[in-house]
């Protein structure tokens, strides 16, 4: 909002001072300097008051309006499914309840939530990126479902452990998994055939295949950054980790020998010319998907949402998937997805909780699966491949996939990882130095949330 004003700086002021009136300059400059620089934060007073209990499962006396913010894609059939299948299905069951859904573009949702927290304007329910849940929980705006929802345990038990874990903050659960995904190895079979190499099942096989792939004109692997989402599969598969299980300390984990080895694998590949330097994290390079389809990249790691994208952009290209190349720690990928959370400022918690239950029902989960959202329910795994065959490798990978460390400090740790690993790739530091430095900085951040 106001930020945008900072560069609309000059014209009006300037035209007024043309000519020789230097004295008026002083005022123009003072005003322009102040106007241009200050960033304005709105803030509102007032403490959120919660009213209404959370309700019992399948209560029949619920009524009122429930507001639900989400970032389901309006370009794909996701919003349509929500508005034409799921919400009508719920409202038919509970005719006195109206669900008001608000689609917010993903890139704007975090900022909108932050503003809404400050202004005490949060909706009843939010479909939040799994990374935002500990942050929002730490702000005290989410209802601890594990305390307040009588059937929380039963609901939680039906979902994948890796997805459920993303809702935990300080021994309480503040949300329920809604959809999930993970990254697997996507490869270009033509390139592998041309180079005469098999699909790399292990990291070592990938490293061994790299020279042959280079001779065939392709980079062995490509990724567009060195943050957690990118690096965690390599670190975990090498047997390393980011933090201790309590997420209070990074030293001894992020800079352990196994973590160093995991990062070193990629750094060595890059420095030998087998990885494109988009891993440095800058914009403007050949995107991983474009590189894979055009045969410039032999393998990439990516999620299930890429299938519809490849189908529309590269209809002639057959996308093939395999598990993340394994190392001493196994084949461990990173969990993505969204959770649904209930806010403390909700005035209709009973109806909102009932809608949460409905979102986790088999019918809602399968309806969303049809448009590419992977369900979080353990027992729909087998029927998934009937809906979308390409879900199979992802379902398999999800069995061992882990979430990123669940902490409000994650977005900052993520930036630190990107910065430090970049320094290792550009040879400004050794991998060991880089991860030591990253661990020290992460320790300081984690200490704030102990």
């Amino acid at each position: 909002m106001h930020l945008k004003c900072t560069q609309s700086r000059v014209p009006n002021n300037a035209v007024r001072v043309k000519g020789n009136n230097v004295k008026s300059l002083k005022y123009v400059i003072t005003a322009a300097a102040a106007v241009a620089t200050l960033t304005l934060f709105g803030c509102a007073a007032g403490v959120a008051k919660s009213t209404g209990g959370i309700g019992e499962p399948s209560a029949t006396d619920i009524s009122g309006t429930v507001t639900f913010w989400h970032a389901y894609s309006a370009d794909s059939p996701e919003v349509k499914t929500l508005e034409e299948v799921i919400i009508p299905g719920f409202e038919k069951k509970y005719p006195k309840v109206t669900i008001k859904d608000v689609a917010v573009p993903y890139d704007n949702l975090h900022q909108k939530l932050v503003t809404a927290v400050a202004g005490d304007q949060l909706p009843d329910l939010v479909r939040a990126d799994i990374g935002w849940v500990p942050e929002l929980a730490n702000l005290g705006v989410l209802v601890p479902l594990s305390d307040d929802m009588s059937d929380f345990k039963a609901l939680a038990a039906t979902t994948y452990d890796g997805s459920l874990a993303t809702n935990k903050w300080k021994d309480k659960y503040y949300g329920l998994p809604l959809d999930t995904n993970t990254r697997v190895l996507l490869y270009n079979q033509d390139v592998l055939t041309k180079a005469g190499v098999a699909v790399p099942a292990t990291v070592n096989e990938l490293i061994k295949a790299a020279p042959a792939l280079k001779a065939a004109g392709a980079f062995a692997f490509a990724d567009n950054g060195a943050g957690g989402w990118n690096m965690l599969p390599w670190i975990w598969s090498a047997g390393g980790d980011i933090t201790n299980p309590e997420v209070t300390k990074a030293s001894g984990f992020l800079n352990s020998d196994a973590s160093i080895a995991g990062v070193q694998n990629l750094v060595t590949l890059e420095q030998s010319g087998y990885l494109p330097d988009i891993i440095l994290g800058g914009s403007g390079g050949l995107a991983t998907s474009d590189g894979l389809a055009s045969g410039k990249y032999a393998t990439i790691l990516d999620g299930p949402w890429m299938y519809p994208i490849f189908a529309s952009q590269y209809p002639a290209f057959t996308l093939t998937a395999a598990p993340v190349p394994s190392g001493p720690g196994g084949s461990i990928s990173v969990v993505g997805g969204e959770d649904v959370v209930l806010t403390t400022s909700s005035t209709n918690k009973a109806a909102a909780a009932e809608f949460m239950r409905y979102l986790l029902s088999k019918e809602s989960q399968l309806a969303m699966a049809k448009v590419g959202q992977m369900p979080v329910l353990k027992d729909v795994g087998s029927s998934l491949t009937q809906i979308n065959a390409y879900f199979a490798p992802f379902s398999e990978q999800l069995k061992t996939a882990k979430p990123r460390p669940v902490t409000p400090a994650w977005s900052q740790i993520d930036t630190i990882l990107q910065t430090e690993i970049r320094a290792a790739i550009t040879r400004d530091k050794t991998v060991k130095q880089a991860l030591n430095d990253a661990a020290t900085q992460a320790d300081a951040l984690l200490a704030q949330y102990k």
Partner: protein, 320 residues
């Protein structure tokens, strides 16, 4: 109007020596002052509401570890956020980047803007069309041109690589502009210059138009050539406009934001952060609103000092 005795006298005496209108000279009366305030109030009220109040709030925020949740305890931390900022290598780097951006873009905008203004001040066929063309980037949205420049500087088939590598052979292989700090800053600076030239051109053009033709004619009779006339007639006459443009461009340079946010996002790895993008990250991404406010205020203070020095220097040279 005012009291019948003193005011007309003062007015009459003053009017003999000054060209100021009478009502200003007589403006010591309360009603005039009141009337002046009445005219000032609406503008000031708006300014106070949308600028002053939030600015003061921001200053207060910068002295706290501010929590966004209403009612949450936001402890007073004094100058801690400021101390943190000036020990933060990323913030210091961002200042260096802003200084580099300013040093690169301001002189180029002034020189090229002035050159174009001098050209378009002459009787050129189709000069209105040229004026519009050169001014067009100024009115184009920052978002649109930032994305456009991202394409121009894309590492594969971008126009910048085509010119630098394929045409001029400045490098052997395609340059990955946004993977490095200085190549990224170069792209950002290129956009800043391209978008800013038209604005300085228009100001200079307005100032040049105001230079009396007689001065040029007199100089020409004295045997001054085109360059000499520009140097000794035009340039001194537009000095005020030059300093205004310089000062406002420097302020704008330190406040570069949208282009960096959209083209590089401050990345890779904070390499191309400028103070405002870093402030934005800290406040809206990491929810460190107190720290973000401290960064804003540090930048404000810095810009005020730089602008004050420029102003003082301008006034001194003008007097001499």
């Amino acid at each position: 109007m005012t009291t019948p005795t003193a005011a007309p006298l003062t007015g009459a005496r003053r009017s003999a020596t000054s060209r100021r209108p009478r009502f200003v000279a007589a403006g010591t009366g309360r009603r005039e002052i009141l009337a002046a305030y009445v005219f000032v109030v609406p503008g000031f009220a708006l300014y106070a509401l949308v600028m002053l109040y939030p600015a003061v709030q921001t200053l207060l925020l910068s002295l706290r570890d501010w929590k966004i949740t209403p009612g949450a305890d936001s402890p007073w931390v004094g100058l801690d956020n400021y101390i943190r900022a000036f020990a933060d290598p990323v913030f210091l780097n961002s200042l260096v980047n802003a200084v580099v951006y300013t040093i690169v873009t301001v002189p180029l905008q002034i020189v090229i803007g002035l050159f174009l203004a001098a050209l378009l001040d002459g009787k050129l066929p189709g000069r209105v069309a040229f004026r519009v063309l050169f001014y067009l980037p100024v009115v184009t949205s920052w978002v649109v041109v930032s994305l456009l420049f991202q394409y121009i500087f894309s590492s594969n088939d971008g126009l910048a690589n085509f010119i630098a590598v394929d045409t001029l052979h400045l490098a052997d292989a395609n340059i990955n502009w946004f993977q490095g700090r200085w190549t990224g800053m170069l792209a950002i600076c290129a956009l800043g210059v391209w978008k800013g030239i038209g604005w300085s051109m228009i100001i200079f053009l307005a100032a040049l138009t105001a230079v009396p033709r007689e001065l040029h004619e007199a100089a020409a009779i004295d045997g001054a050539g085109t360059l000499a006339r520009f140097r000794y007639v035009s340039l001194p006459a537009i000095r005020a406009a030059l300093s205004v443009v310089a000062i406002l461009l420097v302020i704008g340079g330190f406040n570069v934001f949208i282009s960096v946010l959209l083209m590089s996002g401050g990345g890779p790895g904070n390499q191309t952060q400028v103070p405002l993008t870093y402030m934005y990250d800290q406040a809206f991404k990491f929810l460190n609103f107190g720290y973000g406010s401290a960064i804003s205020f540090s930048l404000t203070a810095l810009v005020l000092v730089v602008a004050a020095i420029q102003y003082w220097w301008t006034r001194r040279t003008m007097r001499s």
